[in-house]
Symmetry: C2
Subunit: 380 residues, 2 copies
């Protein structure tokens, strides 16, 4: 079955990346942003890979978003010069941020409280070029940020009127979009994200602050926004790979998912209807996606070695290096009866989490050939 | 609060390892095995760290268990010469196993079906010193292996009567112990594991096979077995660190857990009773432990920077680099009101999974000093 694929040299489990699907996913969002005339600042936290990031902006090494300063280090070393760290700043990150600035990187950071803003002003007071700071705005009640109408917004902005720092704008991430199924809900959530960020910016402007940047984004809202008036940039991460969560929301189809875990059948438990494979949670991650909310895909949806979805076969259980593949119904008679040594691909619930379990991407080119692996990094 | 601790130089999130607790956990199982006079073959999959493994056998570089051939590579390079790969063998691992054998490592592998045994016999036929093979036995119905009474056991043994391979014994892992709460249940499960493995060995011996090794183990069964008659070795992994799953079973107390994730408060959502920290699922893992079965500890139990458990504060939600700490009750009035920049430690649900998210251990010595970090590796 898998003779046509160049997998003989791959020891499993391994993370496969289909370059054709990757390029299509990247083009889909890029096209949309071009139509809106709004800048895209890709979030490199999903792939943590220079080769993937290069495809996002045709190798221009333009603006990027990071979730760790380690990502900033890696991309700075590769020549990126406009890096936005989109996790709330704390004083123990000061030395690291300053090292990046000293390398010539235009760093920007975010805060959502006066204490962090003051710590930032104290820690950066001597910088010749002020550090760009965005105020995090909460447009969905899911995580961090200040509500657009919160008066603390103005207090934070005031605390940033200090040497070494400057208010660059507002930033929001509407993670609530990960709980919206279908076009109508996604469109509404995208508008909620946009409107909240723009309102926060307007309030700051009315208080006399220049607010040059209004940054919004998540993969679902970026792809479903119908208008972006007042927005200066969109951030998105998982759009490059897509995953079963995005498929559950209606953002993509399972066939659009560019990453999968290649695995090998190691045995069977015929009485239970189980096919055992050598991809456990170490290779798949423990991410259960939207199992409690929409569809339970176990630890991933099973495809044959060519990537064809084997409908209703999922990884129902995972130990560290063992996965159990079974029919969704649990019917033992529906054993996936492939010989020991057969290969399968598992589509991930959450591409960010699954990719994080691996040190490299095995890249399948458009011609179905394996390229030199693309490394990815981790850590902080 | 944390002035007495040497954390100023640590950027969070980071994986902390308390050496005193680590040594106590290691001593606990070692003492027990000495009492039984049974060999311990530590499973290095939990720590994936040479320094931790060295503490397990006083630096003797004795027998170890691995869950990946990458672990075998790393430990072989460090001088380990008796390595057991405890995940079912598949033909695409042949070249890797042979590379290890060529380095002088006494490798042993496991199989639970005739096809894998035949593939092994074919792949290793030319080896001068036969590869040691154990038949995996299923003593709890949870995963792989042959039932002790299954006649296929004899077929597999027969397939291993071939040049280049030899039947070394039987091996079982009673993961069912992870679902047993309290002494009585754990003791019974340990006996079930022992009895099943010994019975399988006896059946093979009656059929004329030499079965020198009977290998059993998991942390709960290793610590709760009341007798080990017929057993030649015990394997265990997570005993070195312990975790909230082991605490939920009654195997340890939360205070015994040697690893935690150091994190920093980045903000608050007072209306929700949320304290936001810079440890999300990337630092904590997505492992939810025994949330559905025993106690739901969210993504981990919160301690102050000194390691004192803050009773009933847990990480209730996790994004990639954000964690939400809240009171278990959900009562917003019980906000953990610590200033931005304060540090906390999060005890892991599952130490194997949490440690896997990090590249090194920040080791706190018995004197409360930070040592040079101990690296850990990942991958396959």
């Amino acid at each position: 079955m898998q003779t046509a694929l160049p997998f003989d040299t791959i020891e499993t489990p391994a993370l496969l990346l289909d370059e054709l699907l990757l390029r299509a996913n990247i083009a889909r969002l890029a096209t949309r942003m071009t139509q809106f005339g709004v800048a895209l600042r890709p979030h490199v936290k999903t792939a943590k890979c220079l080769q993937v990031a290069a495809l996002c902006d045709d190798g221009r090494r333009g603006p990027i978003t990071v979730s760790t300063l380690r990502e900033a280090d890696e991309f700075a070393a590769a020549g990126y010069r406009d890096i936005r760290y989109a996790v709330g700043y704390t004083p123990n990150k000061a030395a690291h941020v300053r090292r990046l600035v000293a390398q010539g990187v235009t760093m920007s950071v975010i805060v959502d409280n006066v204490a962090a803003a003051q710590a930032l002003a104290n820690g950066m007071a001597d910088l010749a070029v002020p550090l760009r700071v965005l105020i995090e705005v909460d447009t969905d009640g899911q995580r961090a940020g200040l509500r657009p109408g919160d008066d603390v917004l103005l207090d934070v902005a005031a605390a940033l009127r200090a040497p070494g720092v400057e208010l660059a704008g507002v930033l929001t991430h509407c993670g609530g979009a990960y709980h919206c199924h279908g076009d109508t809900a996604l469109i509404a959530m995208a508008e909620q994200e946009r409107a909240g960020a723009v309102y926060a910016a307007e309030r700051l402007r009315q208080a006399g602050h220049a607010v040059p940047e209004v940054s919004v984004g998540s993969t679902p809202t970026a792809l479903f926004a119908q208008q972006l008036a007042g927005v200066t940039e969109v951030r998105a991460g998982v759009y490059v790979f897509m995953d079963l969560m995005m498929a559950a929301l209606g953002v993509c189809r399972p066939e659009d998912i560019a990453v999968s875990v290649l695995t090998t059948v190691i045995g069977h438990r015929r009485d239970q209807g189980w096919t055992l494979v050598d991809a456990g949670w170490m290779a798949l991650s423990r991410d259960r996606g939207l199992a409690g909310e929409f569809v339970d895909q176990g630890y991933g949806l099973v495809c044959d070695a060519q990537g064809q979805v084997l409908t209703d076969y999922i990884v129902t259980a995972a130990n560290q290096e063992h996965g159990i593949v079974a029919h969704r119904s649990g019917d033992p008679a529906r054993l996936l009866d492939l010989p020991v040594g057969s290969m399968l691909r598992i589509l991930p619930n959450h591409a960010c989490a699954t990719a994080a379990q691996h040190g490299a991407y095995q890249v399948l080119s458009a011609r179905g050939e394996l390229q030199v692996a693309w490394p990815r990094f981790g850590g902080w």
